[in-house]
Symmetry: C2
Subunit: 382 residues, 2 copies
């Protein structure tokens, strides 16, 4: 883990080759065509014929049941993540009442908090409980704050469908980011449903942003988050614009849940393939209902993809080819580009939703965080 | 089609909002949760349970048979492309002999040439047959060459699995690019199998590059291509580096077939979903065999992803979420980034392989070409 302890290098000096293990580099061994056996050929031809029939008319695409191998094109650590069964009980949690939700959130949070503390220890990250403008938050400090970043700060909104990851369970992504960036992180422990639906969480994040942007030069501040955390960050920018507050210098958005309706092609194409969220009907629909609490799901403060992206700060986005929210990521990227925002997209082979948050030590996760760090380093003042 | 006839604006002035039809913008109508009926809920729970069982062990991912709707998140023209049946006979062509291949290539080429001539007429593009250094090519001139591009030229390597699109059938992508860029295009009509396997086509492209780079300032030259054309362009750069020739100023790479072995997760995850290539076992395996003609498929001049990407020119890449070659696109992007190349990725909702080449008038295709134009405008000298 020595690499984590080194202060991060400046953008130009980051060695991307070193960020990836040889196992996931294409290796130039002999490549020969595997001629199909007559049986394989017959099986394929029968499937092709039935697929042609099932798709002979214009309309929905029929795809057959399949067993999809773990790809050879990623690192062993990412292969291990891809091979894992669906996450139980999180993926299709369906508690019968508020008490059931609270118990579930508490139990999952305790598991995640344990893993987070282990990661903090492993990466030598210091965590401090703080209260900013009346809102609970965590300040994470890397073992070495890099010299160019000593006046910089990144604000973090955690993911978890606006339901999961209260308290220290919410800082796992921040721990990785602190380690990879050499920048201090302020992670907001915003209020969540069932007790505190929208707009409580957004209100909390706005309070933290206001106080932080007053006490610091906003040009030295970045904002980041993944999943619901990315949706929250985008909603914050909309509200910051509406309220005439100063914008952060840059934004990092991972696999954004910025549309709480089931909108986007990969909600269907990657259903049952993404092993983290698995299906919108697993728990996202219930999380959406608990968060919006009867409000219009297309309110831009709830589903910020419906908002106005003009004058957004420079934004880097990330997703994976198996991500249920790949469509939302690329739709967000496109809408930012159409609004003339400096927006940069990175998509990683085989990753499901928030794979890099759950598997921070995989070389591809490190590569993803390093892209975000490069982007912040480019856009944040020193 | 008035927009095509206008000279393209400079990068900063390109209006991305105008590039997309309102139908594909997320519209802020009321969003409400569709509560599942008890029957829907029971069906989902049964499927979830059987999926949990099928995936309870670490390993391949089992996905069920599904009917996937045409997404609401794209323009009507792209919806129409997504709804189309698989392309017959191209997708699973399997001629029994060389004569059969030649007849197929000829017949498909004639169809494509007709469509290409219609597009040329529609976009008011002038085409000239030329011979460069002994190699046949086409020079395409837009109705108005934009002032900043009057000394610029883009070299084009066409796609078609190194088998399809001889002669004028190969210029369809160039026609669109000429219209969207206001830059002259030189499209190489390189030799192809069965008569001329590797390295004939690459030799031809290199001859054109050498002569063009001698007669022009290479800083004013760009290179682009999609599918096999993208693989060819990447192989050209490897060989240009090996031979110490001057590099083009920038590269545009669409959904690259830069690994002729079936390598990359989306060859499986997007199999039967992509309605253009459909499956590697459709015809790509046969095309690979005809092109390589017994040589090592992992020879970097055949599968350039196995080559050294250091010192590549700035590169913009594009793919779609349903693209069978999405993995190759993102793996190529990542490898370029790790080699510290200025590489930019754009992924489009719902697009299958080369959707933008086949449907050049869809607003998303225009948006994709416009990104490439912006990139060339940024990196090519005037």
């Amino acid at each position: 883990m020595e690499a984590f302890r080194k202060p991060p290098q400046r953008s130009k000096e980051i060695n991307y080759v070193a960020c990836i293990s040889p196992a996931s580099e294409a290796v130039s061994t002999k490549g020969t065509l595997q001629e199909p056996t007559p049986t394989q050929k017959a099986v394929f031809e029968q499937l092709a014929s039935s697929q042609d029939s099932a798709n002979h008319q214009r309309g929905p695409r029929f795809v057959p049941a399949r067993s999809i191998p773990v790809p050879s094109t990623v690192s062993p650590l990412l292969q291990s993540a891809i091979a894992a069964p669906y996450r139980v009980p999180a993926w299709n949690a369906d508690p019968v009442d508020v008490a059931g939700w609270k118990a579930l959130v508490h139990n999952l949070g305790a598991q995640t908090a344990t893993a987070t503390r282990e990661l903090e220890k492993h990466l030598n990250i210091t965590r401090e409980d703080v209260v900013i403008n009346g809102v609970k938050a965590f300040l994470l400090t890397p073992p070495v704050v890099s010299p160019e970043s000593k006046n910089r700060l990144l604000i973090h909104a955690h993911g978890g469908g606006y339901i999961y990851n209260p308290g220290e369970a919410g800082v796992m992504e921040s721990v990785s980011m602190a380690a990879y960036s050499g920048i201090k992180i302020l992670s907001v422990d915003y209020r969540m449903p069932p007790d505190h639906p929208f707009p409580a969480g957004l209100d909390d994040c706005m309070k933290v942003w206001k106080a932080t942007a007053e006490a610091n030069d906003p040009k030295k501040l970045g904002l980041f988050g993944s999943s619901a955390g990315a949706g929250m960050a985008l909603a914050m920018i909309l509200r910051v614009k509406d309220e005439g507050l100063p914008l952060p210098a840059a934004l990092a958005i991972g696999t954004p849940w910025d549309d709480l309706t089931e909108t986007g092609d990969t909600f269907k194409t990657n259903e049952w393939l993404d092993n983290v969220i698995v299906s919108y009907n697993g728990y996202l629909n219930r999380a959406a209902s608990l968060y919006a609490n009867g409000r219009d799901l297309k309110d831009p403060y709830i589903s910020p993809i419906y908002g106005d992206f003009n004058h957004f700060p420079p934004t880097v986005l990330a997703s994976g080819t198996r991500d249920l929210l790949l469509s939302l990521t690329v739709l967000t990227h496109r809408k930012l580009r159409r609004a003339n925002v400096d927006a940069e997209l990175h998509v990683f082979e085989g990753m499901s939703h928030i794979s890099y948050v759950l598997n921070p030590l995989a070389p591809e996760s490190r590569e993803l965080f390093t892209e975000w760090v490069k982007f912040f380093d480019k856009h944040l003042d020193r």
